[in-house]
Symmetry: C2
Subunit: 384 residues, 2 copies
Amino acid sequence: MFDFTYHNPTKILFGKDAIERIREEIPSGAHVLMTYGGGSIHRNGVYERVKAALQGYRVTEFGGIEPNPQYATLMRAVELGRQAGVDFLLAVGGGSVLDGTKFIAAAIPFAGETWDIVEKRLEVREAVPLGAVLTLPGTGSEMNGWAVISHAEKRAKLAFYSPLVYPRFSALDPQTTFSLPPRQTANGIVDAFAHVMEQYVTYPVNAALQDRIAEAILVTLIEQAPKVMQNPTDYDARANIMWCATVALNGIVGVGVPQDWATHAIGHEITALYGIDHARTLALVLPAVLEFKREQKREKLLQYAERVWNLREGDEQSRIAGAIQRTRAFFESLDIPTRLSAYGIGAEAIPAIVRQLEAHGQTALGEHGDITPDVAAKILERCL
Amino acid sequence: MFDFTYHNPTKILFGKDAIERIREEIPSGAHVLMTYGGGSIHRNGVYERVKAALQGYRVTEFGGIEPNPQYATLMRAVELGRQAGVDFLLAVGGGSVLDGTKFIAAAIPFAGETWDIVEKRLEVREAVPLGAVLTLPGTGSEMNGWAVISHAEKRAKLAFYSPLVYPRFSALDPQTTFSLPPRQTANGIVDAFAHVMEQYVTYPVNAALQDRIAEAILVTLIEQAPKVMQNPTDYDARANIMWCATVALNGIVGVGVPQDWATHAIGHEITALYGIDHARTLALVLPAVLEFKREQKREKLLQYAERVWNLREGDEQSRIAGAIQRTRAFFESLDIPTRLSAYGIGAEAIPAIVRQLEAHGQTALGEHGDITPDVAAKILERCL
């Protein structure tokens, strides 16, 4: 097992009255900037519940944060927050709203060029405190210090991290996910699944508990996914999916083990270039990474085959192939394609994606740092 | 799944240089009260490493905190801390030193009768910040807000909780456990195992991930225990045991599920009366609770039998009996008895233990609150 540091100070409020409990967590007298997305919270009752919970606080609203939150949009919120002198941010929505709000939190007190927070990963020394009401599980942003921000002009989608942008609290009411479109529900499940896989399918370092927690999440997602797809108001199934997505990326799976975030890095470039939903890019790239790296990842793929897919018969290669095939089939069962051809994209895309990786310095990906742009091109050939 | 709140702000420093990293976590200029136990840290090199890490800080030492830390001992540390005006506590040792130091942290600024913090569970409104260097995994105290304090005159062993006594950090170096006596290693494994069982074997509420994380810890403890007993310097096995013990009681297993702490409550009274090691009392009581409550716990016992002990054949009663038998056998394999007779204690002890439970208001134990003193007596009959 590798040495590690684990520190996750976010308080999780989980359950049917989670939204009502947020007022115990926001400092009294705070001027709150409430951020949200395209307006689904107006249709599912979340807006009213949040506003009721914020009664007595001064509240400024900023709506319209889009999927793959855009720097230009977020900078309007930064200006608003600076002018209004807000001292607490409340993100209400899914991962894009949360990620965007983390950027706003870091950018409001930032003296320099704010895009440098993302592109140059300049250290964030101060941030406005933030909380979250999560309505779309998947990204795990509700319990970590990561955010992914897009810049349309630069065709960039990049991540930054700061311990200062962990939400002080995140309210998770599974009921708020009952009305999600099936596509968003499915995207969230695949996103969480990929997060676990990227921390798990590398090489063994005898981190026995981390491995089993990873497998616990994977098996639970596989078990619960058809339940929520068939019955969107199954509370326990929604709760299980929501909690799996949080634990998938709150750090506990990844402590003391090698990690391989190549799938996310390549997927981000596909989203930046072609606008394909984030999770859908992961479903394209992950099986291809596993296939191409099957020799380096052999031991963990065999463990994954056995413990997650119960594949114990046949030779090693057939068990590995079976596990990857089942991974594809799981994604496809959620109506999420695993081939670029499903989006009408062909081999001509590969050089463009690879150029983007080079432009963003993503030239040594994977747990061994050996996924160079050339290797990424070969992986992308397996996504066609 | 039940509604829940999860909040665990302790930072974990894990690995071979964990002790050296503590100086980044203690405020510069702090006057540190360093607390420890009977002196094993002088023999295993931990004392020197901690002192080196504390170079430049003003340090006051308080040694001699005993197993089942005594109120009288701790109050001497409280007086010392008050007189010296310390502003940070550093516990170096196992669960008893950590628990005792949590009490010291709460008691130093406490205005009233300090025993009331424990006996009356008066709210702790202020505490001296504390950190920990853990040298004996098992209690989980390194990553929670619980402490168990004993009072010899009152024959009491009682728990208190405060969010203010979570360690700011805990340093876990598995190497520090290489020199533990086999008895203490075994005790820690059983303690962690019991912690998980008490949060897991109740009744199902469809908390799929929590169940699987519980099973992940149990299976890992069963797998790693013989490795550390046979090879005390197996780093990875020590690391896996250490991390299992932390995760077993850092809250993640118990969120949103019913819990049954009857084993701990009854075990505490056995320790208070007969001085049997804490973990050893759990090995006595846990199998008896499972046996006596086998009907109420039927579904979870069957799940435990299948997923932890791989018992899938035979009728339900034989699978349940098999799982309980294997639990006993696991404890016995660590040289930890599961019968009071091994300590020369007979049926005469039962009324005394039951009177203690009554005296401490422990009269409605278990996940249904139906383990009354009469029921506890019947459970104790199964420990003979």
